[in-house]
């Protein structure tokens, strides 16, 4: 793990993640149509970290599902970065296999070339070392979410999608994991798209923030953050948040 | 005086504890089959229908069944043929202390019938009763069922009378039941000259053509075995484990009824009576029973023995 987390230079001109969802509607069990996404189009430059913010129920998860190829019934297109990016996803729920231990859950997701990798460091950082051989049913929700994060980080993805990854965690654990995410993300060329309701988190981690309107989702606005991450201290963060509040009033 | 190497094998499908097994056991145990030039191989089954299936599937060369079945199958295109084996048929049995004396006394009683509504004896008895102005099927409660079950029900008294196959009837007789009327009596009352062999050896014409010797030898061996079983009580003691009689009396009853059932009449008489009986049954049972042919289908009776001789 140790050397896997060492930063390497960002990769050259890979393709961006290109998302253009022109319409997405669900047919409800009662037969009625529900329009979830009206027009959500943006790009995530290769190797960048983009965050999606929008009101609850506006279509964020739906967008991620479309990017993951789990939902193909939509108008528009999605172009993934690279031909076959190695994808990892942190779903909004842990989605662990209840009949496999935490470690088995993580190892099952590993691609063949990483099989047998040493995961001790990863489990240690995530505070899961004593839970490796336990079943998901024996975990608290926060622990289960961390196991889901471990799974996503372990596969060393080139494209990672995260749906509210740090909820149900105490602030200390959450900020430790945010650091871990930055490390994993910068260790090799990784394109990241995260959904969060936490603007502090967004400002701390992202290169750009995409704001969505309430359902049916459209892009409300895109905010680029150019300040390098090491320079993002508490004071800067407060300023940036105030700026965001001015630009996109009513979101916070 | 025979070369064992030249012995033809004849596979006979039998009911493990059926009456045919007794005869064939005596035959093979005493080497009668070999002496006549055929090696009889017994293929046991657990029921009547299975041996039918086995014959059709070609798993055995010969089974025991009745000419009605043979005629019907011939009408449908099969080439089965029939050689008489026994005249024993079922009887209506009533408890020894029952007040019933004649068919007419059955009125309003509960009667168990083994073999179902198309059983020959049952049809004959119904025809006979109808001639005397009694519609048994309508005026009685009829219960069709499995033979052992009906026997048990007759013993327990739930049934007032039971029409059952001859060996079940014999077992009941040994327990103090008596015969109200037998199928043979009914047939004779309806016009046959003597007891008709309703069941017999059934095999394919084609088999008989290919193996004339085997069939001939087998029928000869069978005749000799019947003589042996008719004359020797000792043989029956040896058969006791197969007969599975509960006691001496049952064994004796079964033995006596078996002996009564050995066909004694000439082939011509048999065939003539069978034709008559068939016509009668075709009348009562209709097409449901006999199939499309109004007459006993030509070739139902095996005649190869004479032709071959």
């Amino acid at each position: 793990m140790s050397n896997r987390l060492k930063p390497v230079p960002r990769a050259g001109a890979a393709d961006p993640l290109d998302i253009a969802i022109r319409n997405k509607a669900f047919r409800g069990a009662d037969g009625g149509l529900l329009e979830a996404i009206d027009d959500v189009a943006f790009t995530v430059p290769a190797g960048s970290f983009t965050t999606l913010i929008g009101p609850s129920g506006c279509g964020k998860t739906t967008t991620l599902r479309i990017v993951l190829g789990l939902d193909t019934e939509f108008e528009g297109h999605v172009r993934l970065p690279g031909a076959t990016p190695r994808i990892a996803a942190v779903f909004q729920e842990p989605r662990l296999l209840p009949w496999r231990t935490v470690e088995e859950n993580v190892r099952l997701a590993l691609p063949p070339e990483l099989e047998g990798a040493d995961l001790s460091d990863l489990f240690a950082i995530l505070g899961l070392d004593t839970m490796r051989s336990r079943f998901p049913g024996e975990l608290s929700l926060g622990l289960a979410r961390r196991a889901a994060l471990a799974r996503a980080f372990a596969v060393e993805p080139s494209l990672i999608l995260l749906d509210e990854p740090f909820v149900s965690l105490d602030e200390m654990t959450a900020s430790r994991l945010r650091t871990l995410l930055t490390t994993v993300w910068s260790a090799r060329p990784t394109t990241a798209l995260m959904v969060t309701h936490n603007q502090r988190e967004a400002v701390e981690l992202s290169d750009r923030i995409v704001f969505l309107t309430p359902r049916p989702a459209t892009v409300h606005g895109i905010h680029e953050i150019t300040t390098p991450r090491p320079a993002r201290d508490a004071a800067w963060r407060e300023r940036e948040l105030a700026e965001l509040d001015r630009l996109f009033p009513g979101v916070l | 005086a025979q070369q064992p190497a030249a012995l033809e094998t004849l596979r006979v499908g039998i009911l493990q504890y059926g009456t045919v097994n007794w005869e064939l056991d005596a035959m093979t145990r005493n080497g009668i089959d070999v002496r006549h030039g055929v090696d009889v191989e017994l293929v046991p089954f657990a029921g009547e229908d299975p041996s039918n299936v086995a014959l059709q599937a070609g798993a055995v060369d010969m089974i025991v069944s009745d000419w009605l079945w043979v005629s019907r199958q011939r009408a449908a295109g099969a080439d089965f043929t029939f050689a008489p084996y026994s005249t024993s048929v079922g009887s209506i049995m009533v408890p020894g202390d029952s007040r019933m004396e004649a068919l007419a006394d059955l009125r309003g009683r509960t009667l168990g019938v083994a073999g179902g509504p198309l059983d020959k004896n049952w049809l004959l008895i119904q025809a006979l009763a109808k001639r005397d102005g009694l519609d048994i099927a309508a005026e009685n409660e009829i219960v069709y069922g499995a033979p052992p079950l009906l026997t048990a029900k007759a013993e327990s008294g739930e049934l007032d009378a039971v029409l059952n196959y001859w060996h079940y009837a014999a077992r009941l007789e040994a327990q103090g039941f008596r015969t109200l009327i037998s199928g043979t009596e009914a047939a004779m009352a309806m016009g046959t000259a003597g007891p008709v062999a309703a069941i017999g050896w059934v095999f394919r014409d084609s088999f008989a053509e290919d193996h004339p010797k085997a069939i001939e030898a087998f029928l000869a061996a069978d005749a000799e075995t019947k003589t042996l079983l008719r004359d020797s009580d000792e043989e029956w003691v040896k058969l006791a484990p197969l007969v599975k009689a509960e006691n001496e009396k049952t064994l004796a009853t079964l033995r006596d009824r078996y002996r009564e059932g050995i066909p004694t009449r000439s082939a011509e008489d048999e065939i003539a009576d069978t034709r008559a009986l068939y016509r009668l049954l075709a009348e009562i049972g209709g097409e449901r029973l006999v199939g499309p042919s109004p007459e006993l289908v030509e070739g139902t009776y095996f005649t190869g023995r004479k032709n071959g001789a």
Binding site: A25, F26, R27, A29, G31, L70, D71, T72, E73 | D49, N52, Q56, W69, R72, Q73, A76, G77, A78, G115, G116, P117, L118, I142, V143, Y144, G145, A146, L149, A152, K153, S156, E158, L289, G291
Partner: protein, 262 residues
């Protein structure tokens, strides 16, 4: 492994008229296969659809077929009801209580494996050659199978929902109706579908051994005559009833009950 996402997604609307078409197509193909097989086999043992239809008409015209079919359906329905009710209750109870299950498991295996013949004969002997014995015997044969399936269903129940129900004081009836039974639905569906067919098969034996009417009685009669066409005619008459129940009753109900599944 996309779990049929496409078929379950939109586009469901146009499919509304399709199902009956597909069913008809399916039956037509089946008939064709049978017809071809029958002409290839050309044996009395596999009669052609025409021969079976003729046998059907013969017994249908006399009304005989419907009488026997009716008797069998009555027995099947009565014992099905008995078996499902008692089987479900026992099964869920065993699935929920580890102790009870430990104790009764050997009994269950015993009753599962007692041959139908034995139960039927004992029932006839003890309770007489009557309907009650017949229906009871069928039910007793089937109950252990229902128990086994429902026990698995009860074991797989979601504990979280049960906790929710207990916190909000749902009470027994509400919990049963809104929490437990919906979870048992697939198990109920499985055990009632395969249950109906098992019950009908046992009914055939019951009728053979000691009843004087019913499809089983007739089938055995025709078996003695080796009249496969008539056997199939009766069989298919029963199958037709089952198909009707499936498509007119079970599937619409099931579609309603599983509407919530994406």
């Amino acid at each position: 492994m996309a779990l049929d996402a496409a078929a379950a997604g939109p586009g469901r609307a146009e499919n509304r008229a399709l199902p009956s078409l597909i069913v008809i197509l399916s039956l037509a193909v089946l008939l064709a296969v049978w017809w071809v097989a029958a002409s290839l086999a050309d044996s009395r043992v596999l009669p052609s659809p025409a021969a079976v239809a003729a046998a059907f008409w013969r017994d249908a015209l006399t009304g005989e077929l419907f009488f026997h079919l009716g008797m069998t359906l009555f027995r099947v329905a009565a014992s099905f009801l008995l078996a499902m009710v008692f089987g479900s209750i026992i099964g869920v109870a065993l699935g929920m209580s580890r102790q009870a299950n430990r104790f009764f498991d050997p009994w269950l295996i015993l009753f599962l494996n007692i041959p139908a013949l034995v139960v039927i004969v004992l029932a006839y002997i003890w309770f007489g050659l009557n309907e009650i014995a017949a229906i009871g015997a069928i039910a007793v044969n089937k109950i252990p199978n229902v128990v086994v399936t429902m026990r698995e269903g009860a074991r797989a129940l979601d504990r979280q929902l049960a906790e929710m129900a207990s916190v909000y004081r749902f009470g027994r009836m509400k919990t049963l109706r809104h929490v437990i039974i919906p979870q048992l639905q697939p198990y109920l569906a499985a055990s009632s579908r395969s249950g109906l067919s098992l019950i009908w098969k046992i009914a055939l034996v019951v009728e053979l051994l000691g009843r004087s009417n019913g499809v089983g009685f007739q089938i055995h009669l025709y078996f003695q005559l080796f009249d496969v066409a008539s056997i199939l005619a009766y069989t298919l008459a029963f199958v037709a009833v089952m198909l009707m129940i499936e498509f007119l009753l079970v599937q619409p109900l099931e579609a309603r009950a599983t509407r919530w599944r994406r």
